[in-house]
Amino acid sequence: MSTEKLEQLMKGLTDNQTSHGVSLSVEMFDADDKVACIKLEDREEFPIYMTADEGQILCISYLFGDEQVDPDKRAAMVEAMLMMNVSIPLSAFSKIGDQYIMFGALSPKASIDELLHEIELLSDNVLEAIEAVSDYLKEAA
């Protein structure tokens, strides 16, 4: 898998953000596993992690861990997420380890414009999603 492709995408994002009307910072998060970290202005709490290989460009945002979910409402939340999945534009819920995530995948041939659109939308979706499932989460400490 090429770091080159990822670096090329990172440069594309940095160069084209203003023409797209977004403000974001892009940095290499983990050069070993080839992961870039994208932070949208004012939304730094929910960064988007991007990887690219010959199969797809993957953008992931981490929502919350299992420990934040109200144990009694867990099944209902998971079902709600499953049902929401289809209606959410371009993004979907998933889970990695004990972390609930939201992700979007693009063809490796996607343009930078499409990638920027994906990232903006994913970020919007993440905020909407947390709002939507907040009833299932434990009361903030």
């Binding site: 998060f29 730094e44 380890g97 400490a141």
Partner: protein, 231 residues
Amino acid sequence: MGIFNKLLTAVRGGATEVGEAIVDSQAIRILEQEIRDSKKALHDAKTGLTSIMAEKMGVDRKVKDLGEKIKEHEGYAIQAMDKGDENLALEIANKIAEFEHELSIQQGIRDGYDTKVVSLKKMIRQSERNIQAMDREVSVVKTTAKVQKANDLASAKFSGSNSSLNSATDSLERIKARQQKREDQAAAAMELHADENGDDLQAKLKNAGIVDSGSSGSSILDRLKKQKEQS
């Protein structure tokens, strides 16, 4: 076991252990072993495909040769018949029958190779996809542990509080508050801008004598007088 099942086993194994332990999880190690095995199988399949394709080329040549020989001997048989040599024609026809028999055998072998090539190619594509999926899974899970740490650090930085107390809803509230503040600032700036522009315009109008430079007692008295006359 299908690839989805393997992945599910891996993520289930990962999910039972918490945080950093995901990386050391037995399931991920199994998946990594699986990737190594698949890569070896893929390599073997590709080697197999190469040799089968080479063998198939040999058979292709035989089929072509036999076809040509049959045509050639058909020509001879016709010539022999033209000369009225029935015996020779029959001998040639027997030879043609031998060739045709051999041709059908070789064609059968070639068809077998064709099927094998198609299925090997399909298998190779499938294992390539599986390896990609497993690679992705391993790298995603490995990244998660690092991301979690980074996320905790990030939210601690933005909230100024202990990372363990941070929740997604708190983060969302902070983001909303920041957005609201930004919108308020933008609105205030717009208002200020409008005011400044308005002031500017008033001043220009006054200077140009289009607008009174301010009401005076006498101007008000004049206005009132006019009103009284009209009533």
